[in-house]
């Protein structure tokens, strides 16, 4: 018997998440002997990630892999990763949090709220860096007096303000036009997104790889859909993900690195601040962290655990 499932993501075919998902679904089909037939709808054909959590809960789709930065509306603890303590943190250290007890607590809450099963460890999307059109960027605080595009979330707005900028919320769809018209002079985004949208043609000249935020995607399957599968297929889904997540993470990390190269190739000045510089900025930003935990309605105990597991100096 074949089991047909629908999966929704909102990135385009060439995006690293889409590529990973296609690869994984292909693998599942092969290893289940064709029993597991998961149809992928990418490019937001079915749902935006912003709405896909609810679609899972309501049973309108079976699988999804939304980014954790769009899930703050479902559970405020997802906004944890917008806190200053994560600024500039090296990638390996992030895993101590997201693969550890903090990630498990967030998974548990999402599973309860969305009636889903989190399939396994989160897939990396990469760092949001800072990019600007006409203002050269050497450190994160070079945003003073600039209008800076925020991708949403109170944590992002606070960050922009803390760095001296003026936050303006612009959906990704309007970024290219806003840039070329000068609606804002800088933005937070992954370098990969900047490169694939060829935003140098919209005026991006400077990139500061300052690791403002680290973003990850959370793979999930609706609990009713999962329960309908026979145990061996359930096992296959969970285990094949766990077995390959290392490779998938390497793929997206690589895409991220290449993106910086592509930007440089097209005349964008790419600057990577030293770890010491990043630490200094983080120390400054940390002053607002406690206040922010309150405004974002993040569980203080969970934030404390994250801080402990991050092992900040």
């Amino acid at each position: 018997e074949t089991y047909k499932l629908k999966m929704s993501i909102d990135t385009a075919p060439a995006h690293h998440r889409t590529i990973v998902v296609m690869k994984w679904l292909e693998l599942l089909k092969k290893e289940s002997g064709g029993q597991l037939d998961i149809e992928l709808f990418h490019s937001a054909q079915l749902f935006n990630d912003l709405n896909v959590g609810r679609a899972l809960r309501q049973g309108s789709v079976d699988m999804a892999m939304p980014g954790n930065w769009v899930l703050g509306g479902i559970d405020p603890n997802n906004d944890l990763f917008l806190l200053p303590m994560f600024y500039g943190v090296p990638q390996e250290r992030m895993y101590a949090v997201s693969d550890g007890r903090v990630g498990a607590a967030i998974n548990k809450s999402l599973e309860d709220k969305l009636r889903v099963k989190v399939i396994g460890r989160w897939l990396d999307h990469g760092y949001s860096d800072t990019h600007s059109t006409n203002t050269p960027l050497k450190t994160s605080t070079d945003l003073k007096g600039l209008r800076v595009r925020s991708f949403g979330g109170a944590g992002t707005e606070v960050r922009i303000k803390a760095l001296g900028g003026d936050p303006v919320l612009v959906p990704w769809a309007d970024v290219a036009m806003g840039l070329s018209q000068g609606n804002f002079g800088a933005l937070f985004s992954t370098s990969n997104s900047i490169a694939s949208a060829k935003l140098w043609e919209a005026g991006i000249k400077y990139t500061l790889a300052d690791r403002e935020f680290f973003h990850q995607f959370i793979p999930m399957i609706s609990q009713p859909a999962y329960d309908k599968l026979p145990p061996d297929l359930q096992k296959l889904i969970v285990e094949s993900w766990e077995k390959n997540i290392g490779e998938y993470r390497a793929m997206t990390t690589d895409a991220q690195k290449q993106a910086l190269g592509v930007l440089a190739q097209h005349g964008v000045t790419v600057v990577a601040p030293s770890d010491a510089e990043l630490s200094a900025v983080r120390k400054e930003l940390m002053k607002s962290q406690d206040e922010l935990i309150k405004t974002l309605k993040i569980d203080p105990a969970l934030a404390a655990e994250a801080r402990e597991d991050l092992k900040l100096d």
Binding site: F41, L46, S60, A176, Q181, N183, A197, K198, E201, A202
Partner: protein, 426 residues
């Protein structure tokens, strides 16, 4: 099976004069049910679709148009323009096309363009006894320029899915957009000559001065919107808000066509007019969601892809397919359904995605004009209080012209590619 059910029910409902939004909404409920999808998804999809800043421009532009029309702003502007082109037969039709082209240069939506321009110009053309089908046709068709002349929401969506550069796509639309306006102008002149449309009355020099002075405050409106958008001060939706507020203020304070007490009533009525279109968009999105999930359009596209065509055959067949889809679906839905499959094929076929974006966009312009689901037809029918069939009739010759332009642009890629390659050098 589901698709046959759909076809039967859909056409039966349309034929007995059921409101379009109801046809789409009811079919959506029915097909979700047949498919075993949770019905709450229909309502959720409508709510998610409406929760969009872009869509917000529609009611605001309707407000602006309604203040302009009732408040005397539009009349002052039209007087001024007819002073310039008055000696030409069918001058107002020329004005309509040029106004749509100009408005398109600040507004990325064809629906908003048709709505704003239609609300002002249809009454003016009716006053000068232009044949109704002609006036409505010209405005519906010229309104589609909104997505061809940059900025363009359709191009932005294309850029997102195809990972192309938005400025490059925008530039690619410029020449075909001007060409479309030019073709429409020629048609309007020809029609005016054949049907002996009136010339505007000749004005004395004194009169001319007065008309010009009287129109100056009205000109503030395009200036503020234009400078706002191109000066990088505001987004398109913000510009729609500014346009509404400025139109309101000039109407209240200078032209005095409406009073303070009428303003809220006008705003309420504008929201109601906008709702005619937005409820159709909302139900159309829920409907398209079913069609996407059904996999039928995907299967058709895959089939076409697999029969191994030459690029020119491929482009021709895709155009035909898009025209057919365009009859039933609204722009965003068509692009979401077809682009993810088509875009990866362009490279191997040797078709430049920037060129294809323009081909796609002109197809989307046609989709806005073809019955049974053509938003620009609905807009004109709604702003003019005229049956849909009158608009459909009037738009037909222009649709044919637009189709010819589509063929031209499809098979002469340099029309689209010359400008972006000049600016960005390959």
């Amino acid at each position: 099976m589901a698709v046959q059910v759909f076809g039967l029910v859909f056409f039966a409902m349309l034929a007995i004069g059921m409101p379009i939004y109801l046809v789409l909404g009811a079919v959506a409920f029915l097909m979700y049910a047949l498919n075993g999808d949770p019905l709450v998804g229909v309502v959720q999809k409508m709510l998610d679709g409406l929760n969009s800043e872009t869509l917000l421009a529609v009611p605001f532009f309707v407000m602006a148009a309604s203040f302009m029309q009732k408040g005397g702003v539009a009349k002052a502007m039209i007087d001024l323009v007819s002073l310039w082109v008055g000696s030409v037969r069918g001058g107002l039709a020329i004005v309509a096309i040029l106004a749509c082209a100009l408005f398109s240069a600040i507004c990325g939506s064809s629906v908003a363009t048709a709505m704003a321009m239609g609300a002002i110009l249809v009454p003016a053309m009716a006053q000068r006894d232009y044949p109704m089908p002609f006036s409505l046709g010209v405005l519906a068709a010229s309104g589609t320029l909104g997505i061809l002349i940059p900025p363009s929401l359709a191009m932005i969506l294309f850029a997102l899915i195809a990972e192309e550069s938005v400025p490059r796509l925008f530039l690619a639309g410029v020449v075909p957009g001007l060409l479309q306006a030019g073709i429409f102008l020629v048609y309007a002149l020809y029609y005016a000559y054949r049907h002996k449309l009136p010339r505007e009355p000749h004005r004395s020099r004194e009169d001319a001065w007065q008309v010009t002075l009287h129109a100056l405050p009205a000109l503030l409106l395009p200036v503020i919107v234009g400078v706002g958008i191109y000066g990088g001060l505001v987004t398109v939706t913000e510009a729609s808000v500014l346009a509404a507020v400025v139109a309101l203020l000039i109407s209240l304070l200078y032209y005095k066509g409406i009073g303070w007490r009428e303003a809220p009533v006008e705003i309420g009525d504008s929201v109601r007019s906008a709702a005619v279109i937005t409820v159709i968009i909302a139900t159309a999105l829920a409907f398209a969601h079913w069609l996407t999930a059904s996999g039928v359009p995907v299967a058709i596209v895959r089939f076409i892809v697999e029969i191994n065509l030459q690029p020119w055959q491929f482009l021709l067949i895709i155009n035909i397919l898009l025209v057919i889809l365009g009859m039933f679906l609204e722009v965003v839905a068509i692009m979401l359904i077809t682009l993810p499959i088509l875009v990866p094929l362009l490279g191997p076929m040797g078709i430049d995605p920037v060129h294809f974006a323009v081909v796609m966009t002109i197809n989307m312009e046609l989709a806005l004009l073809t019955a049974p689901v053509g938003l620009n037809l609905f807009v004109l029918s709604s702003v003019s209080k005229t049956p849909l069939s009158v608009v459909t009739k009037g738009v037909f010759p222009l649709e044919v012209l637009l189709f010819l332009l589509l063929m031209l642009v499809t098979f002469v890629p340099s029309l689209s590619l010359w400008l972006p390659n000049l600016v960005f050098s390959k």
